[in-house]
């Protein structure tokens, strides 16, 4: 077996690439975030809730969520990514939407729409997961009612090793079997809202991989929380010294 250690120098097979996140990076959007995992960078901007046209798309019972996934032309490994919608980007937009749907509650906004635009200036595998992570921070930043922050990561096998967060070199490994399984998890309940697979995997390895994924997701979730708290931290500090005088809050 030739695959014995991570190609990018990571120490362990359950180690994710370095992650960072920041909320409120696009001032004109109602909510926004950037999420970086290794060399993959995802920007998400949320607009809405706002009026939805054409009218036949409206749902009188609830607002709808619309996601738009897009890789920028220069975001690949140097080959130009053809701009514009493609079969792949439509699929990823759809699964992103479905991954986020279980946490957002748009019942207060009938007939309206919340648009999530996810853009990638740079990708190195795991982009749909990075996109979901960025989008859930941006949705929270926009003040959308939601029960949880969805976190996502890819897991899988390369050769005979079970691992998390494959980079492009690992995904493209040719001397043995590869399985790439992007998963999105609701950290509060441990439920999965995205589970796709490219490749083959045994039942035992799949269960092992998903366990590792759950651990990785906990790390990602704390970074997401941190990003939001940092943005609103000023208010927290200000509030701390207002503790002495109650009743500063009245709703009119």
């Amino acid at each position: 077996m030739t695959y014995t250690k991570r190609f990018d120098g990571r120490k362990a097979f359950d180690e994710i690439r370095p992650i960072s996140a920041k909320a409120g990076v696009i001032p004109r959007a109602h909510g926004s975030a950037v999420f970086t995992i290794g060399k993959t960078v995802a920007y998400a901007a949320v607009y809405g809730p706002r009026e939805l046209h054409p009218k036949f798309l409206q749902n009188p019972k609830t607002g709808i969520l619309r996601c738009h996934y897009n890789m920028m032309p220069f975001s690949g490994s140097g080959e130009r990514v053809k701009p514009g919608p493609s079969r792949r980007s439509r699929e990823i937009s759809l699964v992103t939407e479905k991954a986020l749907q279980p946490v957002v509650d748009l019942s207060q906004f009938p007939n309206a729409v919340v648009d999530v635009f996810i853009e990638f200036p740079q990708t190195d595998a795991g982009s749909r997961c990075a996109g979901i992570c960025a989008a859930s921070i941006a949705l929270a930043d926009a003040g959308i009612p939601m029960t949880d922050l969805v976190a996502a990561v890819s897991v899988g096998i390369v050769d005979d090793k079970v691992l998390v967060d494959l980079n492009y070199d690992e995904e493209a490994y040719e001397e043995g079997p590869v399985a790439d399984i992007p998963v999105a998890i609701l950290p509060s309940t441990g439920e999965f809202s995205l589970l796709q697979m490219d490749g083959e995997i045994s039942k035992e390895n799949l269960l092992k991989a998903l366990k590792m994924g759950q651990k990785a997701v906990a790390q990602i979730n704390s970074v997401q929380k941190q990003a939001l708290k940092e943005k609103y931290a000023g208010q927290e500090a200000d509030v701390a010294d207002s503790n002495t005088s109650g009743g500063e809050y009245h709703d009119e």
Binding site: T147, L228, Q235
Partner: protein, 241 residues
Amino acid sequence: MSDVTSVLKVQSRDVVVPGEVLAVGMDYLPSFGTYRSRETIRAARLGLVTVEGKVLKLIPLSGAYLPKRGDMIIAKVIDILMSGWRVDTNSPYSAVLQLKDASSGYIEKGADLTKYFALGDYVSAIITNVTSQKLVDVSMREPGARKIIGGRIIEVSTNKVPRIIGKQGSMVSLIKEATGCKITVGQNGLVWLEGHPLMENLAVETIRKIEKEGHISGMTDKIKAFLDSRLKETKHFDEEQ
């Protein structure tokens, strides 16, 4: 607490994010912006926690304005209908101003409605009704409702409107007195001001300051000091001229 197993995981006025655990145990009660799943109470949006006895609720820090009956808003005319106007409310839903609600006078059927309010005009109006499907009616046959002429309109975060108004309007009247501007604050986050151009600038600056630091206690005093110092500066400036 009667039950030792109930634990509060946050302090009042912490910033919390969706899904964050606020309390464990059945002794606490979820209110606005929070939800219970089995033993735990979690945040259902981004906001500031307030603990009122056993009740946990969130004050939103972001999010769109949602029309509410009785609110005074500043709206922009975006369409002219058969018998009224459609106005943009700076929220996900536009509102309708019916002909009969538009003025205390009588407007004849078939009159040229643009003579009253043209496209792009701003009005201050009261929300009279909101349906479950968010069809919104506004009226101008109410005290304080009028067509807005002159001045300027700025947009502020709708969650900061109560801070800008202050208790019984203390904050906004402070700014009015200090700058001599006329100011109308709409619940939907649009603020109209009119006065001396320099004073308008100062008022805008003050409002931005409140928006940024809105949750500090003794904010009124702070703003007062800020306005006083800035007014002195302008006076010097005027004398030099």
